[in-house]
């Protein structure tokens, strides 16, 4: 709309005039956005470019750095820690995403009805979302503790276990514990997303289906599920990206152990950079993580933009 009007108001002859005061006046907006652009340039764009540059160097925290080309990337390919961290990240993502998703869908169906108290239920299920991930991780370390933890006491009371179980001491149970904690903390968020998607479906669709004699199951199968495709895609991608960036629970709950088996990719970047001080190598890991996440984002855009079905 603005370009069309600009062309009719400014014929070529007028446009070739030297930049007038009104041109400068138009640039005032730049002054308003400049502070935030400066912040983004210094603390976001510059480090982004530096990540790529550093990944081509042997870059210790202190001392001389050397340009090494693609050596970091070559080292990364034969680095068992990298592959196992990527493997654990993928495994964690594959476990936590469906668990979150299915439970959140169930919760959303439960609180979709507009009945008495439902607002209270929604708020209660959502409440853990606002607690920090680090704080929830610490909270669950206590709940799962073998001495003072309520989890073991409860299991012992109903006779499932005889001895207190060290939940964070074996790889499988540590993963389970982390998934349980993250589900408790995050499922309310996915529930809310799905609920908003569900409520966007016009009620007339269900009325028409009921007139045709569709069972609740058929209404779910033929109306709710297909019409929520975009919401599902959004919830899935958010969950996958969130899982791929996981750090707090692994660091706080399991400390990466046992035997480095719960180290995620971000955790490995953290270790390479701030424990081993191999900044260049950490940067090459970051680049690989970024490429993976950009691929996920592209899939997200594709899934969200494909509107052909309805």
């Amino acid at each position: 709309m603005p370009p069309v009007r600009a062309n009719t108001l400014n014929p070529p002859a007028a446009r070739s005039r030297p930049r007038s005061r009104s041109w400068w006046r138009k640039q005032v907006g730049l002054l308003f956005v400049l502070p935030s652009v400066a912040f983004t340039a210094v603390f976001f764009l510059a480090p982004l470019v530096m990540t790529a540059w550093m990944s081509l160097h042997d870059w210790p925290l202190l001392g001389a750095r050397h340009f090494t080309g693609l050596q970091n990337y070559a080292a990364l390919l034969s680095d068992g820690n990298f592959w196992s961290s990527l493997g654990f990240t993928a495994k964690y993502t594959l476990v936590v995403t469906p668990v979150l998703f299915v439970l959140a869908f169930g919760l959303a169906l439960l609180v979709k009805r507009s009945v008495r108290w439902v607002g209270l239920f929604r708020t209660a299920y959502f409440l853990p979302v606002v607690i920090g991930l680090a704080t929830s991780s610490l909270l669950w370390v206590w709940l799962l503790n073998d001495q003072v933890g309520v989890f073991n006491a409860g299991l012992a009371a109903i006779g499932v276990i005889r001895e207190p179980f060290q939940w964070l001491a074996t790889t499988g149970s540590a993963l389970t514990a982390i998934v349980v904690m993250v589900t408790w903390k995050m499922v309310g968020l996915t529930m809310l997303l799905l609920l908003i998607g569900m409520q966007a479906i016009p009620e007339e669709f269900y009325e028409a289906a009921r007139v045709d004699g569709a069972s609740p199951w058929e209404q779910l199968r033929f109306i709710t599920l297909p019409l929520m495709r975009r919401t599902f895609a959004l919830a899935l991608v958010l969950s996958v990206i969130g899982s791929f960036l996981a750090f707090d629970p692994m660091y706080i709950m399991a400390g990466g152990g046992p035997q480095n088996s719960t180290i995620t990719t971000v955790y490995w970047i953290f270790k390479a950079a701030f424990v081993q001080f191999r900044l260049g190598y950490a940067a090459s890991l970051s680049v690989v993580l970024l490429v993976i996440l950009i691929a996920v984002s592209v899939v997200q855009l594709y899934l969200l933009r494909d509107d052909t079905r309805y």
């Binding site: 502070p35 982004l48 439960l110 920090g132 408790w184």
Partner: protein, 291 residues
């Protein structure tokens, strides 16, 4: 969807509906207990006498309510007041900077045509897609180069930067929904553009500012990884980093009562703010999700 005969119900319709209703509420209440139980148990434990808080097996109700655990926690390291102060300072700087920068930025992107406007806006939004976890290493070097590494200000500047894309997006939408007639009327009345923004527009876009400020609070109060990396001096720790040290017993053996007292200090401001400002928080979430 094909028509099919109504299934035969074992119970008369009304009694069946009542049963379903009871089951529905029973399930909902059970789930409320599951979600709130860890928080409530932690709150109760924080009020137990220290020996009860460390008892095996754990007890639910305190024999009597005391604030001993909070008193113990107050004496940890540089003192609890210091750590809560650190967290608050970082949060306040982040909130103030994010609100001001996004107010200006949102106004600029919404109301002005200038060279590079679209490119800059797309760049700002694109940063939403790139997580800060992937640029931690150079961020550390940049903070060190400008002598802000291991400072609360440096941490707040980083938090602000990562709140900005979402904040500017929210503020631009807020300004977009304000009718232009309001500005035109003010300009005719002889308002300067600064007065226009602070006196006329600010009250109208206040809901957007509250949303932005709220997210800035949650983002900085709860953040752990960057705080862990950028802060070396233990006197400068924010609450999450300090709590990890209490929990891992760096200052002696683990004092579970004190840990729960710390949990409460970390959780309660978030829960209270969410309950009071739910409307703004949820509108921010939906805007963020749709992008």
């Amino acid at each position: 969807m094909r028509a099919h005969p109504l299934p035969a119900h074992p119970l008369p319709r009304r009694r069946r509906a009542a049963t379903v209703n009871t089951l529905y509420y029973a399930l909902c209440v059970l789930l409320v207990a599951v979600f709130l139980f860890p928080i409530l148990w932690s709150a109760l434990t924080s009020l137990k006498p220290p020996s009860e808080a460390a008892a095996t097996p754990p007890t639910l109700w305190p024999s009597h309510l005391v604030l001993d655990n909070y008193a113990t926690l107050a004496g940890y390291g540089a003192g609890l007041v210091r750590y809560v102060g650190n967290s608050l300072l970082v949060a306040v700087i982040t909130i103030v900077l994010t609100s001001i920068l996004s107010l200006l930025g949102g106004y600029g992107f919404s109301r002005f045509q200038f060279v590079g406007r679209n490119v800059l806006f797309v760049v700002m939004l694109a940063t939403l897609m790139i997580p800060f976890q992937s640029i931690l290493t150079p961020l550390y070097l940049i903070l060190r180069a400008i002598h802000l590494q291991d400072t609360l200000l440096g941490l707040a500047l980083v938090y602000t930067t990562f709140q900005l894309p979402f904040a500017i997006f929210v503020m631009r939408n807020s300004f977009d929904s304000v009718p232009r007639e309001i500005e035109e009327a003010a300009l005719i009345d002889g308002c300067s553009s600064v007065t226009l923004l602070t006196r006329v527009m600010f009250p109208v876009v206040l809901p957007g500012v509250v949303t932005v400020a709220l997210f800035a609070f949650f983002g900085s109060w709860n953040e752990f990884l960057a705080a862990l990396i950028f802060l070396n001096d233990s006197d400068k720790y924010t609450l999450p980093v300090m709590l990890l040290n209490v929990q891992s017993g760096l200052y002696g053996s683990v004092d579970w009562g004190a840990v729960q007292a710390g949990m409460m200090l970390s959780m309660l401001p978030c829960i209270a703010l969410f309950l009071f400002l739910q409307r703004y928080y949820l509108s921010g979430l939906t805007q963020g999700a749709v992008k």
